[in-house]
Amino acid sequence: MLSELEKKIIAQLQDDIAITERPYLAISKQLNISEETLLKKLKDLYKRGIIRRFGATIRHQKSGFQANAMVAWQVDEDHIDEAGKKMASFKAVTHCYRRNPTDDWPYNLYTMIHAKNEKSCWEIARKLAQNASVDTYTLLFSRKELKKTSMKYFPAEKDG
C-alpha cells in the first residue's frame, strides 16, 4: 500500500526533474518535506520495485535507432517460456511479453525491436526466429506516432 506522501512523491516524479544542481531540493520544497526525507522515500520506492526505472527517457529515433518493429509471434504454448526467455536475451529486444491470442489474431508472444533501420529489424527478427525455433511471425513497423506520453498517476487535485 502507498501512503498519501508516497502518492504525492510519485505524482512529482512522473514529471520532469529540473536540470539544476539540487533538483530534489526543489521537489521537496513543493511537498513541504525535507530533501533528506524525499531521497529516503525515493530510494525506498526503488527498492520496493514500485519505480521500475529512474532516469532519462530518450527519443530513440533521434539517437540512431530510427526503426522500431513490434514482432508478433505464434508460438507453441508448450515452449513459449523457453522462446520468451531466448528472445528476451537479445540486446535489440527491449520488451518481450506473452499475451492471449484472440479469434482473428493468433499471436501469443510479442517483442519490441529497436534498430538503425527496417532492414536490421528484419535481420534481427530472423535471428530471433532461428534462435527460438519459431517460424510464424509478423513484423509491425510503426508508421506514425499518434501519442506518446507517460502515465500521470495520482494527479494533484487542483487548488481552489
Binding site: L2, I10, L13, D15, D16, I17, I19, T20, E21, R22, Y24, L25, L39, L42, L45, Y46, G49, I50, I51, R52, R53, F54, G55, A56, T57, I58, R59, K62, S63, G64, M70, D81, G84, M87, T94, H95, C96, Y97, R98, R99, N100, T102, D104, Y110, H114, T138, L140, F141, S142, R143, K144, E145, L146, K147, K148, S150, M151, K152, Y153, F154
Partner: protein
C-alpha cells in the same frame, strides 16, 4: 552528439543518482565537471534527444493495470479514431502500424472493467468494431535502455 554526450546518456537512462547533487555524482562517475554535465543535459533536452528525466513506475504496484489494444481502422478514420482514443489519459502510447490491425495503443487504468467499458465507448463513438484487448500474461523483459 559526441562521445561525451553518449557517455552521459548511457549513464543517466537508468539509475539516475538519488542524492542531493545528482549531476555532481554523474560528473564524478564520468570525470567531467558538474557544470559540463548540466550544460550538456540541458542541451540534449532542448534538442529533443532527452524526452524527460524522471521515474517510470510499475502500474500494477500502484494499483493499476495495463494492456495493449489494437484496432482495425479504415484509413479515412484514423485521425478521428486517434483523437477518440487519445483523449483518455490512460492511453500513453499510440502508433499507426502497417497491418490490418493498424492502430495499436497501450491503456492503463485502475481496472480491466474500466478499460473494457472505455473500449466499448470508443467503439460506439467511432463506429470501429474490431478492437482487441491483449493484456500481458507474462513479462519476459522490459528494458528501455539504449546503448549509444
Amino acid at each position: 552528439m559526441d562521445d561525451k554526450d553518449r557517455a552521459i546518456l548511457n549513464r543517466i537512462q537508468s539509475d539516475f543518482p538519488i542524492t542531493s547533487r545528482p549531476f555532481l555524482a554523474i560528473a564524478n562517475d564520468l570525470g567531467f565537471s558538474e557544470n559540463a554535465v548540466l550544460e550538456r543535459v540541458a542541451k540534449l533536452k532542448k534538442r529533443g534527444i532527452i524526452r524527460r528525466i524522471g521515474g517510470n513506475f510499475v502500474p500494477e504496484k500502484l494499483g493499476f493495470i495495463s494492456t495493449l489494444c489494437a484496432a482495425k481502422v479504415p484509413n479515412h478514420k484514423i485521425d478521428s479514431f486517434a483523437k477518440a482514443v487519445n483523449r483518455y489519459p490512460g492511453v500513453t502510447h499510440n502508433y499507426e502500424r502497417d497491418n490490418n490491425y493498424n492502430v495499436w495503443f497501450t491503456f492503463i487504468a485502475p481496472s480491466m472493467d474500466e478499460i473494457e467499458n472505455n473500449l466499448k465507448q470508443i467503439s460506439i463513438d467511432t463506429g470501429v468494431k474490431d478492437i482487441i484487448n491483449l493484456p500481458s500474461t507474462k513479462v519476459f523483459k522490459i528494458k528501455a535502455h539504449f546503448d549509444l
